[in-house]
Assembly symmetry: C2
Homo-oligomer: 334 residues x 2
């Protein structure tokens, strides 16, 4: 039988919790019978939500009434102490009771509490927040998405190593291709920090990825590269702009499609294709930011996602542990 993967789950974060968390676990479990879930939160509420098809020996509930609120500042959340469901779930990976931890709660709080409790991987200066983006061929890993507003070239090089290790864990059959997000593809473009990063990455030999130089914003989704590296400010702006543009276009499309009777009829005829389109762009597929650089990865599910989205984030947990992400990062960095 496969090795058991122990996932610490903060059951109390995000909208519609703990129900969507438990439904997500049940959904994930159907295809991942080698999972064991340590579920942190209100025991009574959680017990009532557990469905029949979730085996008794596949989970354990660790009770707490204390939770981090979505409105807490990161430090405010940390000050709530060691009995919140978020803190306890992170603490369980620190104590090696779990392999990986996931929460749909307050992002800032999760990053701060994780940094307070977990050690950095040796020789990594700053952990980074990464996520998956669709491209014309498949998926890309993008980092940093806002954990580090100011970065230096060493940080960006670490992000390249970590992003490449993450891509290789998630897609073991593909080769990772790393690029730096910049404002031009010529070597002379960009700020000093990015140019120095380019020079250094270009000199590294025998890496487990291919270094493809610079990439511009308009090429992010072409699929020519699959690991995109930026400082946290730039990466966050790029991710959110892509999100805003996608929303704008689909809302304009919806307006057009329902603007006339003929539009409505033909949209109905086309419903299967439109569904396929929607599925391709379903944000639940890309749900789950991954906080890497600590000696145990921390997964952040989007607070507003539903149980399918949460289940997809649990899938990311499984792949990361099966892919030995932390070992891969250590190997890249040494």
């Amino acid at each position: 039988m496969d090795k058991v993967i122990k996932i610490a789950v903060d059951a109390m974060g995000g909208d519609g919790s703990p129900k969507k968390i438990i439904d997500g676990i049940a959904h994930h479990y159907q295809k991942n019978k080698n999972s064991f879930y340590l579920i942190f939160g209100n025991k009574e509420k959680i017990e009532n939500l557990i469905p029949k098809n979730l085996n008794n020996d596949s989970y354990k509930i660790i009770h707490t009434n204390e939770i981090v609120e979505g409105t807490d500042t990161p430090l405010g959340a940390a000050k709530r102490g060691k009995n919140t469901s978020m803190w306890l779930s992170i603490n369980s990976v620190k104590n090696k009771e779990a392999d990986i931890v996931i929460s749909a709660g307050n992002t800032g709080a999760l990053l701060v509490i994780a940094k307070l409790n977990l050690k950095m991987i040796d020789n990594i200066d700053k952990p980074a927040l990464s996520a998956l983006w669709p491209n014309k061929i498949g998926m890309s890993v993008v980092l940093d998405l806002g954990a580090n507003v100011e970065c230096n070239d060493k940080n960006l090089i670490d992000f390249a190593f970590m992003g490449s290790a993450l891509f290789n864990s998630l897609y073991p059959k593909e080769k990772s291709k790393v690029a730096l997000l910049n404002i031009g593809s010529e070597e002379i473009k960009g700020n000093e920090m990015i140019k120095s990063t380019y020079q250094k990455l270009n000199q590294i030999e025998n890496s487990d990825y291919e270094f493809k130089g610079y990439i511009e914003g308009n090429e992010l989704m072409n699929g020519d590269v699959n690991v995109i590296v930026a400082d946290g400010f730039t990466g966050n702006v790029a991710l959110k702009t892509a999100e805003g543009t996608a929303n704008f276009i689909t809302s304009e499309l919806k307006k057009t499609m329902s603007g006339s009777i003929m539009g409505k009829i033909s949209s109905l005829l086309n419903i299967k294709n439109l569904k396929k389109f929607k599925k391709r762009l379903d944000p639940r597929l890309y749900n789950g930011a991954i906080f890497i650089g600590l000696d145990s990865p921390v997964i952040k599910s989007h607070g507003g996602t539903d149980y399918i989205g949460f289940s997809n984030s649990l899938n990311v947990c499984t792949k990361i542990i099966e892919g030995n992400l932390v070992e891969k990062i250590k190997k890249n960095i040494s």
Copy 2:
């Protein structure tokens, strides 16, 4: 009769020039009879392209055989000297023979030759490259889009003044609402430079715009603000990411729509609506970056646009002169 607006046109830049330039002029002239075009380029070629409906007294051709190539570096282009169509057209606004200058040629070259020839507006430290973006309600001005990779708070404040003046020139009936592009809406988010800019903009009273604080990438197209300020690195990444996302989504949509016979049939039925959708997102509508901060504005049309797109950029020229953009900037800055 309306005041005559004199537009210096570099006829030799961009794909398909000079034909698309002359066709664009003819198209623009139909609705802007108060225009006079100083056309710089190969006289013989241009004369053969002039259509009958362009009055003889509405233009003058200034002959030169020298042109800036799309592959020239900015400095290489400047070294070609003072007889290129680009240099001559910029020189004509310097000499007050024209009110404004437009080129579809090499962007870097245009910025450098403009900076070499035109004076800065007093108290503006750096000129900025701005453009128009669609939003759910109308249009926004976004700047800087890459002219200044590194900026300080004074630069961003100048961009706010200039962007607001540009918006008011283009849309005189609307009130400009300025926001800073950042990675969160709370005051504490972002880097030191952006926080300091926020504080200073927040203290300015009696401005001709409303200061709306920070905006995140995903809100850029909501229409809540219409002047978006960023350093050139961030602005460029945001603009290009939006472009790449739009391309990705429309190509995925096209794939879906033509993926089956039923898809094809219903797309045919829906063709009118899809055309309306396409029109709403037509990049030609937003064609034309505007280089502001110099004592005469410089308009850059996209090199790949067609004559309709070029004509729209000529429209921007007309509105900028009728709206007294440079006077408005001077008033804001003083």
